[in-house]
Amino acid sequence: MKDRSLIAVIISRWVSPFIFLYGVHLIAYGHLSPGGGFPGGVVLACSFILALLARGKLAALKRMPYVFAKKLDASGAFIFLLTAFAGLIFARVFFLNFLNQIFPGQELRLFSAGTVMINNFAIGIKICASIFLVILFISALRVGKDTEMKTMEED
């Protein structure tokens, strides 16, 4: 911790919630504006990666523990599959957008896409967790002055 810049630490602490919020916005409005699950998920992951870069691995792992990230990764994909199965159960066609038929909503409004929004959030969660894990593994393999080398299974 001793050789970290104070400015970077403070600013990252201030900025990362806003990055997170922007990621949620990108996902939520994915069906209306450029964005969606994948870019939004990457932005979500960026808020954790910023913490990792500015304040070190332990600070990032405090916000997003390793085991939690793994479970989040799998559960995002699982939610996506569940919405696909829900189409089969409620409307007899796999992946059918059954929510849109029940509740069409007003066009160009937030709740107007049925299951697309759920799918976007599922992909966002998955991408967030997996990009974070990728960067975490890359940083764990780094060899150098970093003395925080600690096996991640312990966290």
């Binding site: 793994k70 479970k71 990764d73 799998a74 559960s75 994909a77 699982f78 599959l81 696909a84 199965f85 189409g87 089969l88 007899r92 066609v93 796999f94 992946f95 059918l96 957008n97």
Partner: protein, 497 residues
């Protein structure tokens, strides 16, 4: 019934995610969940018997949406591959106890199953590519699952080469999309068969070559086979079994055949090219195997030559279907190739599983290979075993075709078959004499759950003969053969039913 088609892809994925989400104290039930899930996949595949049709996902129809498609040949592959998957799962429940983190193995196994099923069912070429990648990426990790130096080297080699081959394949698909504006295979086939003239070097040739190269790599056929012996000899035994029996036969051979037949057969005559790849694989596999001492590696090279026989049969059948006189040769080559594909999906997993059974429970005891005599004899083509008739049919088709190229192919293929037979039986008789005593000790300590898949696959090495009882042949082999042949004049087909 119809809804089973997407579930065959989605269910293994769901099983994989559930296993990944399993809390730590429930990890003991992972074995039973995995076993039940792969039995359900097998039962679902069996329940689709006789069903042919297209499933539109999400209710979006063909040019816009994604569709899944099944026909007789797809079903035959699906049932074979699910059977291999179930056998490998039965085997690996005990075998993978010697490895750490069994749960992750199951997760990757189900990812791979989903990719394989998707490859067999996909109706458009881009989705097929995605499913092939899903299965391939899971297999890269599974090959390196032991985490030893040998495993990791093989997995790295496989992953790097595989990524390069996939990139080439993706370029081909992008070319097709740029040229014809669709990736739906049926539509592409219609558009391409409507083309008036195809110049000797048209963009279509380039697209076909690029798109097929990736599948040739996955099939481990001649010019792009170098990953296969490393990967299969280094990987844990159940992984070698499923990679050779299910992954190569579905994401490689089936995807190659389906792409060539559905997409390109309207305008391009790719039969000779496929047959040439097959013939070179036969020669290269057999010759390289003869210089190899290590047992698993030797078998890997011989399995390359078996893939060669399959491609030779299909390519030859496609080539001959346009000539007037040789309906018998078309029949022999086509159904021989399908039959050899089924045999291949039975005997290679069997050989690898048996060699793994000898390593159980001490993982590092690799000096004694457990030799599966049924598998070896079926691979070599010894008469009571089913491998004999399929190989004989392909070679006979080459000879009775009445063309010089067919005769040359027949000479090479039969020489390779005889050489395989002599070399494999000789080396195994020697092996048998030396290690007979040790083999007796080993068979006592294998648990029943590992014996069941070995017994059932061994039985299938002979029982696959039954597929040539006329009742079964007309219900199973013939529809499959007709669905993978280009649709030309009805007079040529069907004279030898």
């Amino acid at each position: 019934m119809n809804n089973l088609i997407p579930i065959l892809v989605a269910f293994p994925l769901a099983a994989g995610f559930i296993l990944a989400l399993l809390p730590g104290k429930w990890l003991k039930s992972a074995d039973s969940i995995a076993l039940v899930a792969s039995s359900i996949v097998f039962l679902m595949a069996a329940a689709l018997y006789g069903y042919e049709g297209i499933y539109e996902i999400g209710g979006w129809s063909s040019p816009v949406g994604i569709n899944l498609h099944i026909d007789s040949f797809g079903w035959l592959m699906l049932i074979a591959v699910s059977f291999v998957g179930l056998s490998v799962m039965l085997f690996s429940i005990n075998y993978m106890k010697t490895y750490t983190s069994r749960n992750r193995y199951y997760v990757l196994f189900f990812m791979m199953t989903a990719g394989i099923n998707g490859t067999l069912l996909a109706g458009d070429i881009f989705n097929r590519f995605v499913y092939v990648e899903l299965a391939a990426i899971a297999s890269y990790v599974l090959v390196g699952f032991g985490c030893g130096a040998k495993e990791l080297t093989a997995a790295l080699k496989y992953a790097v080469l595989g990524a390069a081959a996939s990139a080439v394949s993706l370029f081909g698909i992008a070319f097709l999309y740029a040229l014809y504006g669709t990736v739906d295979m049926a539509l592409l086939g219609e558009v391409i068969s409507g083309l008036e003239t195809v110049y000797p070097f048209s963009p279509l040739h380039l697209a076909a070559g690029l798109a097929i190269t990736g599948f040739v790599f996955k099939a481990a056929a001649f010019p792009l086979h170098i990953w296969q012996p490393d990967a299969l000899s280094a990987a844990p035994a159940p992984v070698s079994a499923i990679v050779s029996g299910a992954l190569i036969s579905s994401t490689g051979i089936y995807a190659l055949l389906r792409t060539v037949n559905t997409v390109f057969s309207g305008a391009l005559r790719l039969g000779p090219a496929v047959a040439a790849i097959g013939l070179f694989s036969v020669a290269a596999g057999t010759l390289t195997a003869s210089g190899t001492k290590e047992y698993k590696r030797k078998i890997s090279y011989y399995s390359i030559s078996q893939v060669g026989y399959i491609l030779l049969g299909f390519g030859f059948a496609w080539h001959l279907i346009y000539s007037e006189s040789s309906a018998a040769a078309v029949f022999l080559a086509g159904s021989g190739a399908i039959f050899h594909l089924l045999n291949y999906a039975v005997f290679t997993p069997l050989i690898f599983l048996k060699s793994g059974a000898a390593e159980y429970p001490e993982k590092r005891d690799r000096d004694f290979p457990g030799v599966s005599y049924a598998g070896i004899l079926s691979l070599a083509g010894v008469p009571p075993f089913a491998g004999f008739i399929s190989k004989a049919m392909i070679i006979a088709a080459c000879f009775i075709s009445g063309t010089y190229s067919g005769f040359a192919a027949g000479v090479i293929a039969s020489a390779a078959a005889v050489y395989t037979l002599i070399s494999l039986t000789r080396s195994n008789i020697i092996n048998f004499r030396i290690k007979r005593k040790k083999a007796r000790n080993i068979s006592g300590r294998i648990p029943l759950l590992m014996k069941i898949p070995i017994w059932s696959l061994s039985a299938l090495c002979i029982l696959l003969w039954l597929l040539f009882i006329p009742v079964l042949r007309e219900r199973i082999i013939e529809p499959a053969r007709l669905s993978i042949m280009p649709q030309v004049r009805a007079g040529v087909e069907g004279s030898l039913r």
